[in-house]
Symmetry: C2
Subunit: 926 residues, 2 copies
Amino acid sequence: LCQPDMLNVHLVPHTHDDVGWLKTVDQYFYGDRNDIQHAGVQYILDSVVDQLLKNPDRRFIYVETAFFYRWWRQQSSSMQQTVKQLVNEGRLEFVNGGWCMSDEATTHYSAVIDQMTMGLRFLNETFGPCGRPRVAWHIDPFGHAREHASMFAQMGYDGFFFGRLDYQDRARRMMYREQELLWRASDSLTPPMADLFTGILPNGYNPPEGFCWDQSCDDAPIRDDPDLEDYNVDDVVKRFLAIAEGQVRNTYTNHIIMTMGSDFQYENANLWYKNLDKLIHYVNAQQANGIKVNVLYSTPSCYLQELHRTNLTWALKNDDFFPYADDAHDFWTGYFTSRPALKRYERISNSNLQVMCNQLEVLGGPVSRRGPFGVGDSKTMKEAMAVAQHHDAVSGTEKQHVANDYARRLANGWQHCQVLVSNSLAGLSGSTAERIYCDNLNISVCPLTESSKKFSVNVYNPLARPVTWPVRLPVNGTAYVVSDANGKSVDSQVSFCVSRGFAVNELVFQVQAPPLGYTTYSVSLLQNGPPPASTQHHTPTAIKNKVLNHMTFDPDTGLLSSLSNLETKQTIKLTQNFYWYNASDGNNVESIQPSGAYIFRPNSSTPFVISKTAKTESIQTPAVQEVRQWFSPWVSQVVRLYADSRALELEWTVGPVPIDDDLGKEVITRLDTSIQTAQYFYTDSNGREVLQRKTDFRPTWNLKQSEPIAGNYYPINSRAFIKDDDDQLTVVTDRSQGGGSINNGSLEIMLHRRLLYDDVRGVAEPLNETSGIFPKGLVVRGRLLLSLDRPASAADAHRPLAQEVVLQPLLTFTGGDLHPNTRLEFSGLQAALPPAVHLLTLSQWDKDSVLLRLEHQFQSWESKVNSQPVTVNLQKLFTTLDVLGVSELNLSANQWKDEMKRFSWTPESGTAHLHLSVPSLQHIRT
Amino acid sequence: LCQPDMLNVHLVPHTHDDVGWLKTVDQYFYGDRNDIQHAGVQYILDSVVDQLLKNPDRRFIYVETAFFYRWWRQQSSSMQQTVKQLVNEGRLEFVNGGWCMSDEATTHYSAVIDQMTMGLRFLNETFGPCGRPRVAWHIDPFGHAREHASMFAQMGYDGFFFGRLDYQDRARRMMYREQELLWRASDSLTPPMADLFTGILPNGYNPPEGFCWDQSCDDAPIRDDPDLEDYNVDDVVKRFLAIAEGQVRNTYTNHIIMTMGSDFQYENANLWYKNLDKLIHYVNAQQANGIKVNVLYSTPSCYLQELHRTNLTWALKNDDFFPYADDAHDFWTGYFTSRPALKRYERISNSNLQVMCNQLEVLGGPVSRRGPFGVGDSKTMKEAMAVAQHHDAVSGTEKQHVANDYARRLANGWQHCQVLVSNSLAGLSGSTAERIYCDNLNISVCPLTESSKKFSVNVYNPLARPVTWPVRLPVNGTAYVVSDANGKSVDSQVSFCVSRGFAVNELVFQVQAPPLGYTTYSVSLLQNGPPPASTQHHTPTAIKNKVLNHMTFDPDTGLLSSLSNLETKQTIKLTQNFYWYNASDGNNVESIQPSGAYIFRPNSSTPFVISKTAKTESIQTPAVQEVRQWFSPWVSQVVRLYADSRALELEWTVGPVPIDDDLGKEVITRLDTSIQTAQYFYTDSNGREVLQRKTDFRPTWNLKQSEPIAGNYYPINSRAFIKDDDDQLTVVTDRSQGGGSINNGSLEIMLHRRLLYDDVRGVAEPLNETSGIFPKGLVVRGRLLLSLDRPASAADAHRPLAQEVVLQPLLTFTGGDLHPNTRLEFSGLQAALPPAVHLLTLSQWDKDSVLLRLEHQFQSWESKVNSQPVTVNLQKLFTTLDVLGVSELNLSANQWKDEMKRFSWTPESGTAHLHLSVPSLQHIRT
């Protein structure tokens, strides 16, 4: 219990269990491959429960539901009862409680909400209200996103604790006692809707020095038997009081918190608890000597409650905690881009999860789960995606074999979802014809389209608006007839294609699909042979489409030279090229830090250009205009403009990055424009709200910049833009990447990294990706979508554009003719939703209910039209679902909205701090 | 439960807890200094008890009472009740049960019996008969002494298991299925009195490969959740059955044993048991498929019982298991000598324990423990001695800081005993005058004798016979009057002395003390100044005394040249000199094994002579004749013959061994004689029975010798001899040393070792002893006593001679005049015991009883006179103790002799083996 007139030291026993990192999630669970890292979560939970039972004062918090769920299923019902009792008594407390502790820089909000929902739902259903975490707990992620704080607030958390922040920021906050603060995490939501009390933990998430009693530590145990050698109680008490005294100097109340645990600790919880019992006993025994220090077993929520009781005011913060540096040359900005292929696979898997599993399971009804194509489930995919949100998963900071495991799990999830989709579409279309999935269209492989004279394509659109979408299919014919659902012929084009399969040509046509529904196109071979010679091998000077865009190329270099929006009559100068930074190898006077999976550290601020000129050729067809650029054997690009598109597509291909010269390379593309940026640029937070950035500047402290490139990189989850009064150039990405604006008018995005050294943050591997099909190094392909607009209306373009990249149409194929009774078109919505409203989630919740999330996707300031409030009539929303009732939940769906009561916190007014007098420790005799 | 028609696999969960090695015993207990080695016995016992309670099938054995006792005292009474229950139900079983698992090569039987008695007594008093170990368990000691086996038999053990034996011996025993055998451990005791069933464990004491589930191991856990990745039950079962099949090929019954544990394992017992539970479950589940394998939790006593039930006959063995080699160039014969100063300190501490604590506590009565000089106790010394018997203690194979800890504990024990002695002697003498202890007489330091004009010396003799003993005291006077208890003047001599203190002279006189009693000499200064010039600086040619000995020196070399026994009219040629072997540094084609704390490996079989000649001077006095020899700045010797002595004393001083040449050195002295040894020589086993040795030969297998020196070294605990039909030269040592007889007529003894490399057996330090007072390297001094006799009667001389070295008189001092009423002489015995009978133990057992051990100290064959049976009348033994009753106990005093019922085992007759048909494993499908 806390003592009001004493310094209360809250000891928080905890373990930090990575959902994959050096080992796979299941290896961690079982304690397999302990040769890589000693860690076995099954034993941690076994041991902690045993030890909690030995002393009712003891407390433990558990965080990662991915592990807890695995363990729970293996327990006997009597053990489950025991654990429920511990939870009910507050001795075992869940904090955070998502499936994993997600990464904050490279995750998309949609997937984060899903993984949190899954973890919290398990806790809710298993333990009821006592199992609901009150506190968010991101002790390890390498920088903190404002959107995460906003989500946590909307999920009902009373507070948030984390461990890592910029070392300069921490120093300032320690000095001003601002390690506990109020984070206002949205500029659009009305306070306190997105306000989140935030505490920065004093030792990262480790115990204070000398007080680590895990089996993985070497600190001296408390030796309190006077008959044995080395009695050390007096020494331990003295050291502990000195640490408490040091800590209280940087805090604001008479409560301090100490995290007693670390990575995969408590596998043998007896070591910790036996010594903590003694510590508490012997320190509190000093109260009899007038020492006003009270040590207690505690939890973050207990600590938070005590802070809340103080009724103090707290420093307010509006920006975020990126980038994270733990020393002058140690910026954790490399992982924004690390493992670009995995990052893309994760993003497209999220699209697949929403489309294939969630939406089509709902729209298809029960037959989706058990139908003509067998038993499908969404659980496998949901778990794989939830696991992939972990801060060493999509972040790219895991070992190679673990990255492979994440990808394998996602692929396995796809398989399970495809059964659902086949069942669902069979129900909706009335056709049980076999449905073919072409998962390898990204490398132009699809056996069906390559070999069939006739097939149909079902295009399912997951957005709540109709979309137009270019379909590109590998084929071997020269000409095809493509017809839409009404039998009307559609423009199509066949061009030469470099495939990894057997296709020699590529068939391209635009499809239009209804909101939350599908349409069907049929394709018939007209003529075999090579494609017509539509390719122009001379250097192109410009491409354009009829509606909006126009861009020119420099005839000398083959590079882009300008971009125009014909509608708004804007034109900017725009040069785009590819460069690489030479990754530091650590042999450096200033610092021995090399670039690695986490850390970006170029050894010079000037990147090397890959080629000053590009070889080009262009293809001009009614459907699409392309300029193909070759910069080197390992860098090429297709600049592409579809007939109806508002955006210019840059499809880049990078790799294998050469390392014959023994130099690690970090490959960027840079857009140099005539826009007057004055050091400002803008990046999104987790794909949602956009934050302003400024080169060599941090909003909350006086930055001493020590890495002019890496220290100016920020995560780009879905978009970045630069602007001045007249022009805004927005780049929408297809995955998370890092980038910055180093020079006026410039925006650079890091695309790929191949490194030769480990960066000494634990992963113990250089980020040097090769694989069976890429033995000489990974080749990565991706797309950047460029949109030039007036700043005031740019969001009206980039918001829907980015959603189309995040949730892309699903193509499924059927060979031959369809049965005449097949329903070729379907929409789940009665009408398209207004442009401001995004249908974020439509997912089966239980047998009789679905989870629906509708989102206002515009920030309050970004669009005159679309930032306004919108009303949606749920009764008239769906075509096939009868709305029998609606109950509003919090964002994570683990609490009724009207029952969500959070602590209220008062931000300080002005700059003066109303500091509580610091509890006196003068009585401590040491 | 065992299945008669199946192969029964006995899994024995165990931990091997060194009572000091890389860490001190208390560091191991608490888990302190885990940076050196992760090990914490307190947690092991916590954890094992918890886990035993979870499943009644589980078993555990515990071995080292030094640790169990520490743990037990810290437990609550309810935990003690729980543990008692586990012991009563056989779930926790004690094996071995001594205070430690003693070393077998360098320990003296007297100290081994004491440490076993102390451990077993604790178990007996705490747990009763269920706590009595049935099995001796020496899984780690580096070679096995026959005397240990004899003691274990006499302590009532039903069997004995160990892990280490010569690799050639193991190979042969595996082939002939003789890893289980009957050891006839005495050539004097009537079988089966010293017969001991002995089992050699199949994997040392480790689990089979791939089946180590401790936190310290990396083997794959059993992953039996089909919903997670990497399900491996089929693989585990298959691998386990293959191992069992391999093991049964080398055994004799349908039972095999697997040690499931290792050094300091089971700190987190859940890991082991959780996986063992699964292993047993899944393997036994294969019985349903016809696999006739039954896996069970077991203990060594359970396994032994099953072997006993087979009623088979077993191979008989009469020799011992020395030396131990684990590969061709890896003979563990260095530790016979390692840390010679510690070995001597341990030996003299044993003498002090017997004299100061045990005997004088009994003779002085209750006043000893609480008397005029305060509270004394014998417990501290007993525990320190018991701990020092550990196989990494007196063996010299511990880290330096641990060696220091052992020595410090012994020194602390001395302090506690000295209070007992002061109280006891005050009671016996009637004088409470302060009693001064001069613990540093070995370096000629004693402030009292150096500075006093008058003092008295109390000489206590612990033997049951009167002794004559030379007393050497550091003084600063030139002449003294020495008087005995009757006031009669005694011959004394003052000579020049090199002291580490302030003394310039040394006073020497012979004392005679009564059996088990004391006498008192008074010493008064006659004259100050330097000593008379009795020293002859010319080269001596011979020294002799009036009774027995005569030895000559070579005038050219200064070395000994002959030795005679005037009484028996024997003379042999005898040259003695000092040499060093160059320790292998591991840079060798044949093997990379260096010499180290354990291993002796000279890089050449020819030792380097330290000097072919010695500088000499001699001192001839009525009391003593000396020749002082200087061989080099770091090797010198005093050849000394006291007036009444039957033995020639060689007092050697070696050190600091120079290492400026970067060569490790193993220093020996070698006696080259005219005795025709024909490869035979003789060494004692733990200071008791003597075994015959033969160069390049082992009695039980056809030795392939690969190390001509190290492979012929044997432990010498108290004596070694060489002989032919006429002459026997016996060397009595003052500590354990290694030695051998490489050439005809030769006997060498290793005195000191200074090495520059670790020998890769875990200690991870080179054996390179330095200390505060010896910063340039340890200087060691010791004595060899040479006795030349006829073989038939040699034991009549060396048995009492060796006992006088083992139990030496205790000198205590009183300054000034004694009170006239002081009792100057006392004997605890009514009469001296017969020469064959040694009073081994006289020790207070509890308030009303004492423990007495009388020992026949002659082997059956070694003396016509003294090997005969002897009768002692206990009623007429003591002068001060009334014998109210006598109850005979086993050797370890934990069982009444008449209740001691051991398993009987039948040795095989002849050489033919009656092998049981091997249980069929053909049904195992793998």
